[in-house]
Symmetry: C2
């Protein structure tokens, strides 16, 4: 694999992002594409990041005030501190990570509205309340490597997990292993297409040679017999399993095309191949918060916790932030209004929170900030005393896909074969998330259990030990899962949000086309870092 051609990527950069007038991510490695047909994805090395020595002896290092110690803020501070910038992070919470939040034994949260709970999980049990999976092509992988965060597979797909759809078609109210639905729809659809091909219905589309070839493909892909009929295939699993001794096994009868189509289940399959969901995906060993914690270790003394931003001010010469402390953390007083000043500000505060903070933004920027709605989304972690899904049902990892308001059930991607395990009992969006979020903590859990019992039977309720639920739109300092842009907002408000506003640069997942992903936050932070650094380098005070 050759390294990307730097001239090409620079040209792409100039063509694509000249509008921003800043130092922005450079993508493509188009020569690689040309050579292999396989782009190598965005990499850290594709960004125009400051290098050690850019700031002579560090003496011209400016002070950068970073609002928020989520992934974007931490990453910006990490890269800028490396080369000598004086970075100061204000963080409202008592922890790093922001929406990257791993709920562990003793985790306490009071939601907006006053609903409060403490996780009663057993030692070692946890669930990732925010981001929970990393596609292998995301730049997040580069930071895990650089920071030494150990990774393991996140099992986004598991053929042995189930589809379950309530009150839809002939297969309603029955959990069916994904392998069965996939094998059967592929088989039935392959049989159908083979029929059309063999009846010469597609002769205008296919050469004689391609007719033969597509029939060969369909026979393999669909598991068709020599007459191009689908009568079931081992890919769907067996009714009687091939065994030792004299048992060769027996494949079950397939579902009919009509049953499959009426069930709607096959329509869920393609989601598992989508660009950001296909294998392999990863998670840090022991919890997603290993990533912010690894950044934090690199930033000793630079983070002020419990610092709630009250005003964001700027002049042509610098920025000034007013904040209150909570009597915790590094230098924040208890409730007194404090002031911090710097040369630039990188503001990663989510827009629904930022819009309520008095700030010296242009009116265009202020309007843009106030116009973007955030996703409603919720999750529940359910700790079980026994992994019945593994032991009794042979479902090791992955997720069950339903049309219930719980949407999905996630089985843990670690600790396979051990005793306890923590399932994500719902991960839902939109109105479902609002409805469950409006319930009491006890009601949410009771509801999640009642839905899960439909799939897993009584064990789902009986073997529960502890639960912890949250509604992201009700979590203080976040107020939503991620930015939701309309197509029109992408053309207008989004462009405004991406422009530096004087000395203030916004960063976060909301400044990306990868909203809701840590990679969006990271890449956006790297753009802010690069843009500020470019400006600093151009300023006369640095010339020596």
């Amino acid at each position: 694999m050759e390294k990307p051609n730097k001239n090409m990527t620079r040209r792409d950069f100039l063509n694509q992002v000249g509008r921003l007038g800043g130092a922005v991510a450079v993508f493509g490695a188009m020569d690689t594409l040309g050579l292999f047909g396989t782009p190598t994805y965005a990499m850290k090395s594709d960004f125009n990041l400051p290098k050690k020595g850019d700031l002579p002896n560090g003496k011209n290092g400016k002070t950068i005030i970073i609002l928020g110690a989520g992934i974007a803020g931490l990453c910006a501070a990490y890269e800028m501190s490396k080369v000598g910038y004086n970075c100061k992070i204000l963080e409202a919470r008592d922890r790093v990570g922001g929406r990257n939040w791993t709920v562990r034994p003793g985790t306490t949260e009071t939601e907006i509205g006053g609903v409060s709970q403490t996780a009663q999980f057993a030692r070692g049990e946890y669930f990732n309340a925010g981001p929970a999976r990393i596609p292998q092509h995301h730049i997040t992988m580069d930071y895990c490597r650089e920071l030494g965060v150990p990774l393991e597979i996140f099992t986004n797909t598991n053929e042995h997990a189930y589809y379950y759809r309530e009150n839809v078609g002939a297969l309603a109210n029955t959990k069916i292993r994904k392998q069965m639905i996939k094998a059967d729809i592929r088989g039935q659809v392959s049989e159908l297409l083979a029929k059309a091909v063999n009846q010469s219905a597609l002769d205008s589309e296919l050469s004689a040679e391609d007719k033969e070839r597509i029939l060969t493909y369909l026979r393999g892909e669909g598991g068709l017999n020599a007459n191009y009929q689908y009568t079931g295939s081992s890919a769907r699993g067996y009714d009687i399993f091939p065994a030792a001794g004299l048992e060769p096994g027996k494949v079950g009868d397939p579902y009919t095309l009509n049953q499959l189509l009426a069930s709607g289940m096959p329509n869920s399959i393609s989601g598992e191949y989508s660009f950001n969901q296909q294998p392999n995906m990863f998670q840090p060993v022991g919890g997603m918060d290993a990533i912010p914690k690894a950044f934090e270790e690199q930033l000793p003394g630079k983070i002020t916790f419990g610092a709630e931003v009250k005003e964001i001010r700027q002049s042509p010469d610098g920025v000034k932030i007013l904040y209150t402390g909570k009597g915790k953390g590094n230098g924040a007083g208890s409730g007194n209004l404090r002031e911090i000043t710097g040369d630039y500000c990188i503001c990663t505060i989510p827009l629904p929170v930022l819009t309520k903070i008095p700030a010296d933004f242009s009116s265009e920027m202020q309007r843009a900030i106030g116009s973007i709605s955030y996703a409603t989304t919720g999750k529940i972690g359910l700790q079980y005393k026994r992994r019945f899904w593994e032991e009794d049902e042979r479902v090791y990892g992955g997720m069950t896909t339903t049309n219930l308001d719980i949407n999905q059930i996630w089985y843990p991607s670690s600790g396979y074969g051990t005793q306890k395990g923590t399932v994500v009992g719902y991960y839902n969006f939109g109105n479902d998330a609002v409805a469950l979020g409006d319930m009491s903590i006890a009601q949410r859990q009771a509801h999640a259990l009642a839905q899960g019992v439909k799939i897993h039977g009584a064990n789902y309720k009986k073997e529960l030990e502890a639960g912890f639920s949250l509604a992201w739109h009700k979590i203080e300092y976040s107020e939503g899962g991620w930015a939701n842009y309309s197509a029109s907002q992408r053309q207008n408000e989004y462009v405004t949000l991406n422009k530096p506003d004087g000395r203030i640069h916004l960063a976060g997942e909301h400044l990306s086309y990868m909203t809701g992903w840590m990679s969006g936050a990271i890449e956006s932070a790297l753009i802010a870092v690069g843009t500020i650094h470019e400006e600093v380098m151009k300023s006369p005070s640095v010339a020596s």
Copy 2:
């Protein structure tokens, strides 16, 4: 999930395996199937295993001589020792596991023919020369749970790994990410079928309602546009990736149906869904030999290493085994012929080895043993100083599928994001395995590297640190990968091999319909255990 109905499984047992006249695996849990449409697979609890207390005070415990400390022999000894049988294992090698063999720093092997090598791997690097993956539905998972063997995901599928086919069609000699081929063939085939449906070519097959439904399915599955055309989809990956800032990304142009069919690549897809290959698959953390080692820990003093079986004798009253020691292990003399006697023998020696040992088998059994050929198969482990496949190419785990004689390249399923990594540079079969096996160690490695360079470029050679190759058909005491039965042999010789021959019971993967899998060895061992125990229980000396 209800427990299997014991009456039903007993009926199945009687119906299916009465021919054997022994205590045999009971499968199906048919009530579960009836209830959910989802069989729960073979489980340890489905076998009629001896229970503690079956042998009163252990005083009637018979002596069981077990030949071979591979998975079958270890499992049989483990289950029988639990209830008071006196188990003695003779093992020709200096280690447990048999074909379950993890090559580590310092591993030395001299193949039949005299080729010799020692693994120069770095500390912590290894590869599994034999079995390397466990499907989640195999009974092997139950033993990992019971023995406390930690498991992690084996990445059998990875959409970012490649297809590579030499000299075939328009896409020849180009590595192409699997995601691209899969998305494009699904897209093109979906477009084709949608065309047939829309042209009413399949009206006799589909109701009006199902026509609408199948079009909806094809649009999603194929990533078709509103006109049912495939113009590429994000599932295939991007030419320019969606990024932070103002880059929404750009999907590349798809390959044509003709290109895809001519390449032959789509014909490789269905293998990834096959029953024993689909996600999720597992491996023990740190090497597959964790499984035999965990059994070994449960069998202190019961294994004689370096004991090469020379004769297998039996009478109506018992069995007698003659063997030579190698001056190592527990009680074996150095080269002197030794004798051990017992009540029963469980013989797990692979048939190509067993056929050469003088034994008191019936002539029918002796003929059957000599008639079964074993798979030729080979592997090479290649240790690299840097994981360029991860770092440069964003391939984290999984395997590249080729039409070269190396067949496959496996990327490591652990240590993601770390420095060094050990790739399996070939895993091949049949004539390819014979040809590479006939080379010198140096030639094998040079050949594997030359082939891999075609896919990964110069790094594949440049960054290599150490290699270790093997040809299973040339490994002493194994002489092949697994039993290969013809359909006719399954009807004849296989039935003979499954019958106890006097006091000798064969066990191993070759006594199963899961040849080559550890689950076949385990289930076969459990059948031998159950059959012997049933006979012992019926014998007058046990009645008290």
